[in-house]
Subunit: 239 residues, 6 copies
């Protein structure tokens, strides 16, 4: 039995609260069960040096965890003087995923930075972050349109993400922390609204996994992500 | 006229939400108007090296602002590789203030770290942080008592803080950002419940201030802090 | 047509040179075409602090590129004062993959550090590194056995890795740099000798990829990795 | 009884030696008893980026302690790779205080950096630094006038600072180290020549302090600072 | 007796392999016995800021050791977050030596960076690096001439370097690690082809050395360096 | 003609002021003309980790320049977050030289750190630092003897240093800044009282130097250092 009596295909309750803070052009609190991530999208003129004069915009992401978002306190990365490897890996993943959703040439000479800060962690923070960041990004783009900075919406499709894994030999969707920490295999999947894949990252934590297990996990991911797309569309229609 | 029609003696609406996140021994969201700070208190066994064998506990604080808690995005300190001077100054102030409220000898061989992370900033983040951190600290101490780690509560009194300042020649209580950024004089005051002072930090931003102005500001601060003590006591009684 | 007239299923010439340098317990120069990575395995007594007393050994990896291993010179990470996100991501991947191949409990109170330094880059450095690191690790373990530090070989199976991707709409195995830099989808696959998967990391660089494309890529990867296992076994039998 | 038989209102012997080193535009060795701080003012063309085009100059300060300026050796901050929180706090205080003394618009497109390096510490280093920096700044400004860089002296008034505190229940002026380290309350006051306040920073080290105690400390500070202004004027008239 | 039966005047077998890697404008693997250093020269347009508009080019060097180039593993400097003092000292020496060999005014608005990375260390890495870097630099300059970037070769003469020292009271040429680690005096000498000196760095590791010993060491160095010049000329003529 | 009409063999006026600051076990202000360096020696129990249990003490040095010790202001290394290569090189030289003067086995389980901070620079700061550090070290050792920490003085001989160089084709002793910055060859020599050499570091800044020039420079150095030994002995006899 899973915690809270979830079926293996069930995702946790997912919510998106738009306009959660007031300064950012897009600001969304996303929750996947007890995982809470604040995603803010900032629009700034200009692009990084390596893109100057290339006729395209840029989207990047930064990720952080509040020191006590977790069961035991983690050292604050700013006090340690550097971001850890896990942080780097996750923020690179979020940034790549968001860029895959947007026509950067149509974005114009603009950089959008999406900050994903974990207020409370209970597994799946990176996939919650991607799913929430997509909504914050849409709000930031709508803000650009309202400001007359761009005419056409450069977002090609929504993106969403879920973690799936094999726990006690059983493939399950949307792992929470107690499951994640004992999973034999852990996979994060990012998809576009049309059902194609943007990122697939599967890791054997214990035993390697078979081709069949991979297929089962992908199917679970597809189902979970479809639910998230519905919730994203719903909350974006309310705006 | 002040924003929102406040009288010069009025503080903004102040709220304390206890148990805001679930992992920390104390977790309080404090709001002073649009300023929102998440304060979590973490209890860990042992003390820093410089206190080993001295028969006392330790309380320390760390402070951070989410990159888009402010009107324009600030660079993430972990990505820059160091904490700025303002951050250092504020977290030292919070830590000193909290230590002044507690009998460290009675705390036992324990370190309590209070993290104050600004989710949204609109002036007065350090004084909101101190006021919220005090409530989170009380919850953490009560947790220690419930766990049987200590018998007697080592908290000597509540502490609270407010910013006051002179804006357009007029002394005002609890400055919000638009006031703070144009203040001629800015003062942060931390007090104990018995009306004495723990910290007074007054800074002339433009013109120096006179002895009389100092006295007026201190009186405004006393009034504002008294209101905060009432709210702290009220929310702590609900627990 | 692919560079050098390769078929889509062909890997580049792959070589492993054991005992390439003389100090390390395992030292292998691996080449995948023009990609050259020096992999050295160092055996040291003791384990990191977080594993003390847990009755297991540890395997970790570090990755670096010589500044002019690439077409244009990259800044030296030690001079910049930190490792970049890509470096962190890759060395975490290598370490995880190697740990999946070894029974850490049977390794004893020992840490093996595998350094993978790219002398020359032409695409696929991380997968070459994993494949070469596995051979260096085996040599280091054999050294431990010869020294009498352990009796039983704790290596569960060989591991190997390959990059695959979709270039000009065509799934291809073992991308070299000119292919990699224009790939629409890029996937790194790490497998165990029994044909199961240890890591799958697929990324849409341009368009998202479909389920069918994923399956084609996995099949290409399986073929390529099988060839590498043959070469690894061959070179290890020579020792 | 205080050390050296000082009355509670007495400051220690204070000296300012102008032109102490030869390269800087202003160079002053200030001593408050055994506390010795070398203050050098450097004039450089241009302003920091955030002030470009705003039609004003800038004044900033840096503070450091030689490793063995203190009773036991402190780690060198350059070797540790960062400035500590106390250093940051003090140099921000010095910079703010100096800026309050100067009409930055009249300073022109110039940055003056005042370095305050403690050669020997015996309490009150930050207040000695501010008092000495003011003299070095005046020399640098006179140098600018002599060079024809500005016509009118933009210094509005001299500034000076003193530390006061409550030791063994007794308010005292200009604490030396043995007093400072056992003070119940410690306060640093920076004033302008016309008797108004630029900074007031009072901290309860043990017990909170009362309104009456605050008033007593401010009066002591005023007396001490007046003596320092006399000495500053005297040494500046000699030039 | 020396290791391998060398006479005190003998250098170890020295080889230079040009075009060792393919991306760099100059790429040389130099070996002095078991010491192996990869030297790559990179040509980039422009000069550092401090040379802008001064009508000259620039040559600089960076030095690194692979973590397991040595008998026991050294921490990776990029992971430690800084280059050690020894690294800094060596790369400054290499850079100075190379600049002494070239007419920087005739080099044009170009920076050449020579990276010297030690693959395997057995004493004398810095002198091997200088000797190999000179060959890589010549190849880079010939590349510049082939590209039409410069007409005249700005190299004034070859440079080469050797370490000499006093071991067991006996002056010896080209110390290997077992000798170097027990030497009483250690000296590195860099010379130009015409027999003059560019750098002489002699260090008493145990006892100070006498004027006569210095002269003996210099004579040994001259002999060793002459042999290296012959090998450099030979390999450069093959190109 | 040299500045101040010095003969090529003349050193500048050299002074040593012992007990310059009061906290350190040895504290010496050394001046070579306008070059002023404060050298403090700190005695601390224990040795660095790599010497634990080896039955010897340790001597190390740190070097720094105050930001405005030079003609134009240099960035403060603590603010930049690291020590530069020149600083590292110099402090390693000072430490090695001092260790050569002392029988570390006879020093006992103690570390002496000598801080050399340049208050004013006019050429030759490293050689002034070594010469002054030697005197500070002697005072620290006498302090250890007075404290009963050691019975026998472990200092084997005094050491002193001078810079020599070729300026306008003329070998000169004790270069000051205007000479140093235009020298064709620059050499720093550290000697022991018995006339032997501890360090010789000669660098061709422009043209390489000949064997004859080297000999001339060494002779000049010997003469200058002899004068410094006389002054050291004189000031130490006064103590």
């Amino acid at each position: 039995m899973r915690p809270n009596g979830r079926a293996v295909t069930d995702i946790r309750p997912v919510t998106f609260t738009r306009h959660y803070t007031r300064h950012a052009e897009g600001s969304v609190l996303v929750t996947f069960g007890d995982t809470q991530v604040l995603c803010t999208a900032t629009v700034e003129d200009g692009v990084p040096r390596f893109l100057k004069g290339k006729g395209q915009g840029w989207i990047t992401a930064e990720y952080g965890m509040l020191p006590r978002s977790t069961g035991s306190r983690m050292a604050r990365e700013s006090a340690r003087g550097k971001q850890g490897g896990r942080t780097m890996e996750i923020q690179r993943l979020i940034g790549r995923s968001l860029r895959a959703a947007v026509d950067l040439k149509a974005l114009g000479d603009v950089t959008i930075t999406v900050d994903c800060d974990v207020l409370q962690a209970d597994g799946g923070t990176r996939t919650a972050a991607i799913s929430g960041a997509c909504v914050a990004l849409m709000d930031a783009i709508w803000w650009m349109q309202a400001q007359g900075k761009i005419k056409v919406n450069p977002m090609k499709y929504l993106i969403a993400a879920i973690s799936v894994g094999i726990v006690e030999g059983q493939p399950r969707c949307d792992l929470e922390y107690v499951e994640d920490s004992s999973a034999e295999t852990d996979m994060n999947v990012v998809m576009s609204e049309d059902g194609r894949m943007i990122e697939v990252q599967g890791t054997a934590e214990g035993e390697p996994f078979s081709h069949e297990e991979l297929l089962e996990l992908l199917e679970l991911a597809k189902g979970g992500i479809d639910s998230i797309f519905n919730l994203q569309r719903q909350v974006l229609n309310e705006g």
